[in-house]
């Protein structure tokens, strides 16, 4: 009742004050977010750049030797960068087809009742904390992968056995972790395809499968690409789960090698690092930050492109 009295018979002055105050609150909230982004960016650059001058950009980015605590330390993160790129790519290659096809299933072919079971399951997958993925990876995936590793490298004297903590385990965990993102966004994109596209295709005699692959998916292309880019963002920024299953040695990213990602490099050593070592970890953070910024820029471009497509 009181609320109403303000908006209907409140004095001009009260109304104006309320309007003004509300305006300031909105501005403050907006500034808070912008400030957070701004200060994080600033902080990343301030704390990430000193090591570049100290060690040299080339010695950080293009050297493969990571020995931060050695008496003659070297801080090369080439393998770490390669691992992040390769691991993310492989996770996308495995995760995206499964995700997109699940989205097709949910949006097009699933019986309603089944879809109502699968959809909450996907949402639940999105809500599981990443450390749980990591623990399940250690307990279930790693022993299984170790058995395969022992078969593949039977009798090998040069291969260093990882006990199942290697690139392939990390990739599998990442592939599962990006599924919810890919599925949800692809499904929304598929559902946004106008119904007359589908009806026209079916009326022309195309089968359901032909319609899905020749009409609906191409029409939802920009949405699906957005889903993939967001999946890349999720995969490249994930730390907790893969720190448990990747093995964390800075090696060349081969399937059965123990590897270290950009995120896990920061996470695993930050607590005990000192001096230059710590500053280099911040530089790794900066590299990761730049990767994620690039992904976001691509995403923005794509979304704008998608909006144009829809308008034209």
């Amino acid at each position: 009742m009181i609320d109403k009295s303000i908006s209907i018979i409140g004095s001009y002055k009260t109304k104006k004050t309320v309007e003004k105050v509300a305006g300031y609150i909105f501005t403050a909230c907006a500034f808070f977010t912008v400030l957070a982004v701004f200060s994080i960016t600033l902080y990343m650059f301030i704390s990430g750049t000193p090591a570049i001058f100290e060690v040299g950009l080339k010695d950080i980015l293009f050297s493969s030797l990571w020995k931060p605590t050695a008496s003659d330390p070297s801080y090369g993160i080439l393998y770490v960068i390669l691992t992040s790129l390769l691991g993310t790519t492989m996770a996308i290659i495995i995760g995206v087809p499964i995700g997109v096809l699940t989205a097709v299933f949910l949006a097009e072919t699933a019986p309603k009742r089944l879809a109502n079971i699968v959809r909450p399951a996907v949402e639940l997958l999105a809500g599981i904390p990443s450390v749980i993925y990591g623990l399940l990876g250690i307990l279930i995936l790693c022993p299984f992968i170790y058995k395969i590793e022992m078969l593949v490298y039977k009798g090998s004297t040069t291969h260093q056995f990882t006990g199942g903590s290697n690139l392939i385990s990390a990739v599998l965990v990442l592939a599962i972790m990006i599924l919810p993102t890919v599925i949800n966004i692809s499904e929304a994109a598929l559902k946004a395809v106008p119904g007359h596209f589908k009806h026209a295709s079916l009326a022309l005699g195309a089968t359901k499968i032909q319609t899905i692959f020749k009409v609906i998916i191409p029409a939802a292309k920009s949405g699906i690409v957005t889903a993939i880019v967001l999946g890349v963002g999720r995969a490249i920024g994930e730390a907790m789960a893969i720190s448990l299953v990747a093995g964390n040695s800075a090696n060349l990213p081969l399937l059965f090698n123990s590897v270290r990602f950009l995120t896990t490099a920061v996470v695993s050593e930050m607590s005990y690092a000192a001096d230059t070592h710590k500053r280099v970890l911040f530089t790794i953070g900066l590299v990761l930050f730049l990767f994620i910024m690039a992904i976001n820029l691509i995403l923005n471009r794509l979304m704008k492109g998608g909006a144009k497509d829809a308008n034209s």
Partner: protein, 303 residues
């Protein structure tokens, strides 16, 4: 007019935010073990030992510690029993890692920096002084199915440098060795590598950033070998003797066991330059009472 007001508001907000960020970083002391005044089983009320702290029984104030996660047990136990002895004193401890602890004491944000490794030259030259309060042993652990009970120092070195990659070469079953260690910068890792004289030469297949993680991975992986503090070893893994010396307290104290390291409570400047409170605390740690405490948490006394 409105523009300028908005501008000022935004500036103020920014200021608050920035200041907030910095103070949040500097002053986060989550006090540990305050709820334990009544159940300090480790406390010995017997005051017959002549610690210098006894003359100042009316101590009050706060002591802050930060540092090594390996020292969590000893730091918490010390904080509890010291607070029980001097009810007006609050001791808080954070576990941020040896490097971070030394950094904090150098910056003066804490009174004591806990370190589970000897200080580096850059740290001592910044005026930090190490006070050794206990000695810790490092145990080499294997998965429970492994039948190897003893390794020589050379064998251990060969395993960790990658010269030997199958258990059959050191008297075990024919299965690959999965070499597990801690991450670079870890006190346990640097102690292990220094003691074995294999600094920077180790080829780890897994680098795990906690003792618990090492135990879990070793316990669940056939053919795994890892190292952890002696006091965290549990029944999920088996320990191995080094040069026929078992990793026991007696052996470490006697000096016959290969892998042991100091636990340091570092201060900025010498002990005598510290506040009465910090002096009392460190003297307490080195007193018979404090060393009794060291024993109860599975560490080895310095005397």
């Amino acid at each position: 007019m409105r523009r300028t007001i908005k501008g000022i508001a935004a500036l103020l907000l920014m200021l608050v935010f920035v200041i907030g960020t910095f103070t949040a970083c500097a002053g986060n002391t989550n006090s540990t073990g305050e709820s334990t005044d009544e159940n300090t089983s480790t406390e010995t009320p017997d005051t017959s030992t002549e610690t210098p702290a006894d003359d100042t029984a009316d101590l009050s104030g706060t002591i802050t510690m930060a540092g090594s996660t390996s020292m969590e047990k000893i730091a918490n136990a010390a904080a509890e029993s010291f607070m029980a002895k001097y009810p007006d004193v609050t001791v808080t401890a954070e576990f941020t890692g040896s490097g971070a602890g030394i950094e904090a004491v150098t910056a003066g944000t804490v009174d004591i920096g806990n370190s589970s490794r000897n200080l580096k030259d850059t740290e001592t030259s910044a005026g930090v002084v190490e006070n050794i309060v206990a000695i810790d042993g490092i145990a080499v652990v294997l998965d429970p199915a492994n039948k190897v009970a003893n390794l020589t120092k050379d064998q251990l070195v060969q395993i960790y440098t990658g010269a030997v990659s199958n258990w059959s070469a050191v008297g075990g079953a024919d299965q690959p060795i999965v070499v597990i260690g801690r991450e670079a910068g870890s006190g346990t890792r640097s102690a292990f590598e220094e003691l074995l004289e294999v600094e920077d030469a180790c080829k780890y297949s897994n680098e795990i950033n906690s003792s618990g993680g090492v135990l879990a991975k070793v316990a669940s992986t056939a053919g795994a070998i890892g190292y952890v503090s002696l006091d965290v070893v549990d029944s999920s893994v088996v320990t191995v003797s080094l040069d026929d010396v078992a990793p026991t307290e007696e052996n470490i104290k006697a000096g016959s066991y290969l892998l042991s390291r100091p636990f340091i409570m570092a201060t900025k400047g010498a002990l005598t330059e510290q506040t009465e409170l910090v002096q009392a605390f460190l003297n307490y740690m080195l007193s018979d009472e404090g060393q009794e405490l060291v024993k109860t948490v599975g560490l080895i006394t310095v005397k």
